[in-house]
């Protein structure tokens, strides 16, 4: 059997490794457009100069040898033929497959802002080449604008600020990280960012990129008519599944590639996992989907039982936050328990014994249990003798015969 995997990130490589552990003799091929293996979530550490590309790898250097996986690097896929079960590469080569896993991730969305596409010195932060290309523009005192105050935008801001760049983050919502943080927890980061030379402008959008005669961006005009000068612009306004290259009609595409609960696409023997399937958005789920797809590709039915993806861990300038589930109470019928001190902010949203969301900032010690409580919809009604903020795994304590914990 030959298993072909397109994409060498979280889903792709975990799938490859899993297939090898399940099928010792099958052939496995990974095709990826880049020639290095690295964690995209760590790119901002390259921007800041804190790390090199070798130190943001997420598998061992001898991963492919140890697992006997054939890595076709620096190769893009030109087209797919699911009827023939064949992949056509950019150099014209053809690869037949018995099973195919599409794990090509997501691409940055470019909003339709005038001059944004055309201007030079406008970048996204998705690939190594983005970082290397923008590097010559990064110097102390340079002004940069980041469009979008979500996770990637903030990562970029912090990375650039570390090199002395004067950064302005423009975010449409009334706060940065609007999907992960509420106003209070966001404000603590906004204050820290200000101290570190990152200017945050919320409740505003970029209306136009200002360019000079050489098509270089020199700044942006905002919705309140303010102009911010910049010689470097990073677009971090969201991502969309990387499916444009797929021309085979047998593969149904919705928000991302449409998959069932076994990671199968609508095409026979074709699977999809990770951001390209549009369901995940975070690393651990991409890994799990890759593993799940691998089992199904090897003929073992495996259904993913943990789809909880509203979870994020954030750490900037020494302030750590974990955000789980819903971050604002949908209405008054929900109870909100809050603890606040000078350095810590904790909020738990619950109703009738079910916890729907939580934000822990400044103290995330042992907080992983809440990911289970919220993700698995565990009831806390019977925990009557404890303050809700003191709930921990001891109240759910259960062991399996071989001594593992469970719920």
């Amino acid at each position: 059997m030959r298993h072909v995997i397109i994409g060498a990130s979280a889903a792709g490589l975990n799938a490859a490794q899993t297939i090898r552990s399940l099928c010792p003799t099958d052939e496995i091929m990974v095709i990826s457009s880049e020639d290095k293996i690295y964690s995209r979530c760590m790119l901002h550490h390259l921007v800041s100069g804190h790390r090199t590309v070798d130190s943001i790898g997420f598998v061992a250097p001898d991963f492919f040898e140890i697992n006997r996986i054939h890595w076709l690097k620096g190769t893009t896929v030109r087209s797919l033929d699911t009827a023939k079960k064949q992949v056509c590469l950019s150099d014209g080569g053809l690869v037949d497959y018995d099973t195919l896993l599409i794990a090509t991730g997501a691409l940055p969305s470019i909003p339709p802002i005038p001059n944004l596409r055309a201007a030079k010195n406008v970048f996204t932060l998705r690939e190594l080449s983005d970082v290397t290309t923008m590097d010559h523009l990064i110097q102390e005192g340079v002004e940069a604008v980041i469009i979008g105050g979500g996770l990637i935008g903030i990562d970029a801001a912090v990375g650039l600020a570390a090199r002395g760049v004067r950064v302005s983050v423009i975010e449409m919502a009334d706060r940065i990280l609007p999907l992960q943080l509420d106003k209070k927890s966001a404000s603590r980061y906004e204050a820290l960012f200000k101290q570190h030379g990152i200017n945050v402008l919320t409740g505003k959008s970029v209306q136009e990129v200002l360019i000079n005669d050489d098509m270089e961006a020199v700044g942006v005009r905002l919705s309140d008519n303010q102009t911010i000068s910049a010689s470097l612009i990073v677009v971090a306004a969201g991502v969309r599944p990387n499916t444009d290259w797929i021309n085979d009609r047998a593969i149904k595409i919705g928000r991302g590639i449409v998959t069932d609960d076994c990671c199968r696409t609508t095409a026979d023997s074709v699977f999809a996992a990770g951001d390209v399937a549009g369901k995940t958005g975070i690393w651990p789920l991409a890994v799990k989907q890759g593993v799940q797809a691998a089992y199904n590709m090897c003929g073992q039915k495996k259904v993913l039982d943990d789809n909880f993806n509203l979870k994020n861990a954030i750490n900037f300038f020494g302030l750590q936050t974990i955000s789980l589930g819903v971050i604002e109470e949908p209405d008054d019928s929900y109870e909100v328990d809050i603890y606040e001190s000078a350095t810590v902010y904790k909020k738990i949203i619950h109703k009738e014994g079910i916890v729907y969301g939580a934000i822990f900032q400044g103290d995330i010690v042992y907080s992983g249990v809440w990911t289970s409580i919220i993700g698995k919809h565990l009831s806390i009604t019977r925990i009557t003798n404890k303050d809700i903020l003191d709930i921990d795994y001891s109240d759910f304590y259960k062991t399996t015969p071989d001594g593992q914990f469970c719920y």
Binding site: D332, Y334, E335, V336, D337, I338, Y339, E340, S341, K346, D387, I388, L389
Partner: protein, 627 residues
Amino acid sequence: MLNKHCGVCPSADTTLQGFIASLDVETAHHRVKNQRVKCGFGLQGVCCRLCSNGPCRITPEAPQGVCGANADTIVARNFLRAVAAGAGCYVHVLENAAQTLKELSLQKGKFKGEAVLNRLADMFGIDEPDMHQKGVLVATKILEDLYKPRAAKMELVEKLAYKPRFDLWKELGILPGGAKSEVFDGIVKTSTNLSSDPVNMLFHCLTLGIVTGLYGLTLTNLVNDVMLGEPAIRIAPVGFRVIDEGYINIMLTGHQHAIFAHLQDCLIEEGISARAQAVGAKGFRLIGCTCVGQDLQLRGTHYQDVFAGHAGNNFTSEAVIATGGVDLILSEFNCTLPGIESIADKMQVKMICLDDMAKKANADLLAYSFKDREENSERVICEAIESYQQRRKQINVCIPKEHGHDDCVTGLSEMSLKGFLGGSWQPLIDLIVKGKIKGLAGVVGCSNLTAKGHDVFTVELTKELIKRNILVLSAGCSSGGLENVGLMSPGAAKLAGNELREVCESLGIPPVLNFGPCLAIGRLEIIATEVAEVLGVDLPALPLVLSAPQWLEEQALADGSFGLALGLPLHLAQPPFMTGSKLVADVLTEQLLNITGGQIIIEDDVVKAADKLEAIIGQKRTALGLT
């Protein structure tokens, strides 16, 4: 619906809790959280650190320490050592009080409670017409007893104790020798490889209980009454509202009212206010906090102009200082929490220690001595003035004036209550016989932070008891908690059951009576004795129960031992580090019933505790032929 969490342990006094949560200093209430996982061996009393082969702990694999001590020995040793230390505390307090009385008498000083001196002299069989000489003789008699060797039984025990009790103690062989020797030997006995007889050690605890009760508690009150005046019932404000930042405020912590006699008198002298006014204050005020504050409150009628009131119990002391309104702290005994040191530093409050028993690291030691009292009182006043001047410009004062109540009924004693009832206990007895008052409960002792929170168990239990028409008499830091939540104000009558409510409303009293400091447990014993005498029964027959729900410290265990020696049922919410020994637990909770009549009842559920105490009162009523 929004629930704000404040990160401090709960308090029955929610105003206080809110205030503490708002502080930017750390208090005991904050520290409870990080200390919440307790060592199980310690909790059970089965950890022994007496020798270098240890520390040993009893476990199923190791049922004996290296020396061969089993759980019973280890627990009993730990328990006796604690009771000895606690008894020692009370003996120290009496020793200082008696010494002061002696010196005052020799100096022909003024007695504010001459009637008490006469009663004591009668009781001791001292016939002497001259009051001062009488004082010398009474004090000397007490001191002589305290200093006797262990083999010489203390003489005053027979004079102070209720006869049936005395006879029983004699029969049991637990009459105490010299108080200090009993304490001393309690420490020696519990050292390495000495006693390993748990029953002998427990009986020694009973002896120390008698020492604590008759001497440390009863006599200390009476000696103080002689010098400082008898308690008189009055309405007084309590809580943080008593702190008026317009005055130079001196906070007191400890148990030794006698030590403050001279200072108090100085502060009510003509012209003293002028010294305060010269620096912009209205005058001087003493702020009570801890048992000595309760004592000042009891006798407040004699010092109305200078005693501001009792702000709260031991676990409010850090918050009191954090208000910024205190200019000087005088410490002489417990509870003087180490936690006040950093707060006093931050608030720039001067600290002076009058008895090195309660020395704080950052306090000046100005050891109390009768001989130097003039000089020392003057020094205190000067330090207070200077501290006021230095600190008020720099420190913000923020006193939660809404905290506390203005109408706390205080000043109850064995004499003042009897006086209130017309000069005899008959009215009270009648009410009990008729069932209007089902019985009496002494809710006494300390405050702690772990039995459901600060004073939480105490307040909840008290409410349950009065609901069941049981009149509550309180003494100790528990009083501080009860008064600050309003249970000692007349309005609290409406929380009582119908019959008790009727009694209280008709008499204009609250259903919880404030006897003041934990020393006043001795006053409760006098009342019990006098009522028992009228009825012609021994103490265990009375419909009387005791609870020290949030007992804190070794002194509480010594008090408890007195209660057991008296044959009374004593409820505790948390076990006193003794459950690791089946024998010790059995003796204290079961066997003692047949020995002294006393019993420890451990119950950490409020309603169940109230049920049990009510049931016991019911049994006693039935045995007396009451319905």
